[in-house]
Symmetry: C2
Subunit: 222 residues, 2 copies
C-alpha cells in the first residue's frame, strides 16, 4: 500500500456515507484502531474504548435506533435549506441525500465502531462556565479524528455520527457498556461504494484566522 | 520539506512543551491553520475561529492567567502520583516537570493559538443525558488535532491545554471574543527546543478494542 502523506490525507479526507458491504480485514482494523490510540489525551490517560460491532443483529438494532433519529433531524434540517442560495442548497441536499442513504443502510456497513469515553477520567475545565460544555471532548475526538484519517490512508471510508448518542441508554444495554463510560461517536466503516475520498470543501483560511484580537485578519483577505 | 507519511506523523506526534522563542513564519501558520480547516464538523458548518496571539503583552497576560491555574492543578495532580509504581511515577513526574516549564514560559512561545467554537452552530446530542456532555467537542477537536498533526509535519511543536478555558471570561475580554464563541483550546506553538517529537507511549490496542460487546477482545491479547 502506498504511503499517503499527512497533508494529502488531511486535504482529501471526506465523510464517506455510501459503503460496500465487503468485510473489513482484521489487519486494517488493527491499523486504524492503533492509529486512534496514538492521539493525545489529558494526562495521557487514554480514556477510550473502541467497540467494533460486526454482529448482524446488533448492527440491525443500532440502525433501528438511528433511523428515526435521523428522520426527525433531517426534516428539521431540510426545512431550513429553503433560504439558501441555489448552489449551496443543492450541495446541502446532496449531503442530506447521502445521509439518508447512510441511515437506511446503517446496518449494512461491515463495521460500526462505537467510541466510548470514561467520564471520570476527564478534566472538564469548562463545566462551571455559563455556556454548554465542550472540553470533555478534547480527550476523545482527537482519537476519533486519527481513526478517520487512518481509514483515509488505508482506503476505507468512514461516516461519523453523534446523533445516536441521544439513545445512549439503549446502546448501553445493547452492547453491555458499563456506567461511567459514555458513547461519544458512532462510525460506519467500509470500503467506499464510489470514488469515496477527494478534496474537501471549506471556507478559506483567511476568513477564520485572526491575529491578536477578534476579527483582525491574520492573512490579507484576497 | 520532506513529506511525512500520515502514519509516521500520527505515531510520532508528541506534546512539545519546551519551545524555542524563534518566530513562526507566516507561511507555516498558513499551512497548519489551513490543515485545521480541513477537519470534519457537523453539517460541514466549520464553527471555528483560530486566534493567533503573537503580541507580547497579550501573551504575558495569558501566562498570568494560566500559571496559577496550572500550579493549583499540578499540586492536586502530583499528590495522586505517590500511589503509582516507580516507573510510571517517574514518567508522570517528568511530564509534570515539562508542564511546569510550559506554564512558566507560556508567554515566551512565539505563538499562542486560542481555538474558538461557535456554540449556536453545535448540535449537542448528549445534552439531555444524565452525565456530563462531551459531544459539543466533536465539531472542534478534530480541527485541533489536524492543527497539531500539521505542526508535526512542518517541524513545529505544539502543547495543547484546556485548563485556561476556566478563565474564559478574562480571555474573552483580553481578545475581544464575542459572546456565543467559546474558547476550547489553547496551543503554545514554536520550534522544539530539544528533540521534540518521537514515538508516543500508549496502551496496546488489544486492551482498548472490543468486538460486539464490552470486554470481548477484538484481537487476541498477547
Amino acid at each position: 500500500m502506498a504511503e499517503i502523506s499527512l497533508f494529502e490525507a488531511l486535504r482529501t479526507c471526506r465523510t464517506v456515507r455510501r459503503l460496500r458491504p465487503d468485510p473489513v480485514p482484521d489487519e486494517l482494523l488493527r491499523k486504524i484502531l492503533t492509529a486512534a490510540t496514538w492521539a493525545p489525551s489529558g494526562g495521557n490517560r487514554q480514556p477510550w474504548r473502541f467497540l467494533v460491532v460486526r454482529d448482524a443483529e446488533r448492527k440491525r438494532q443500532l440502525r433501528e435506533l438511528y433511523l428515526p433519529l435521523w428522520r426527525t433531524f433531517s426534516q428539521a434540517y431540510t426545512a431550513h435549506l429553503s433560504g439558501l442560495p441555489a448552489e449551496a442548497r443543492a450541495r446541502q441536499e446532496r449531503m442530506v441525500g447521502s445521509a439518508d442513504h447512510l441511515a437506511e443502510h446503517f446496518h449494512e456497513a461491515p463495521v460500526i465502531v462505537v467510541v466510548c469515553v470514561h467520564i471520570p477520567e476527564l478534566a472538564i475545565t469548562d463545566a462551571g462556565l455559563d455556556r454548554p460544555s465542550v472540553v470533555g471532548g478534547a480527550s476523545i475526538y482527537p482519537a476519533v479524528q486519527n481513526l478517520i484519517l487512518a481509514c483515509r490512508a488505508v482506503g476505507l471510508g468512514a461516516a461519523l455520527t453523534t446523533l445516536l448518542c441521544q439513545k445512549e441508554p439503549e446502546v448501553r444495554a445493547l452492547l453491555d457498556i458499563p456506567v461511567g463510560w459514555a458513547t461519544c461517536a458512532h462510525l460506519a466503516l467500509g470500503f467506499p461504494e464510489g470514488a469515496g475520498h477527494g478534496p474537501v470543501r471549506r471556507k478559506p483560511v483567511e476568513r477564520v484566522a485572526f491575529l491578536d484580537r477578534w476579527e483582525q485578519p491574520l492573512f490579507p483577505v484576497s
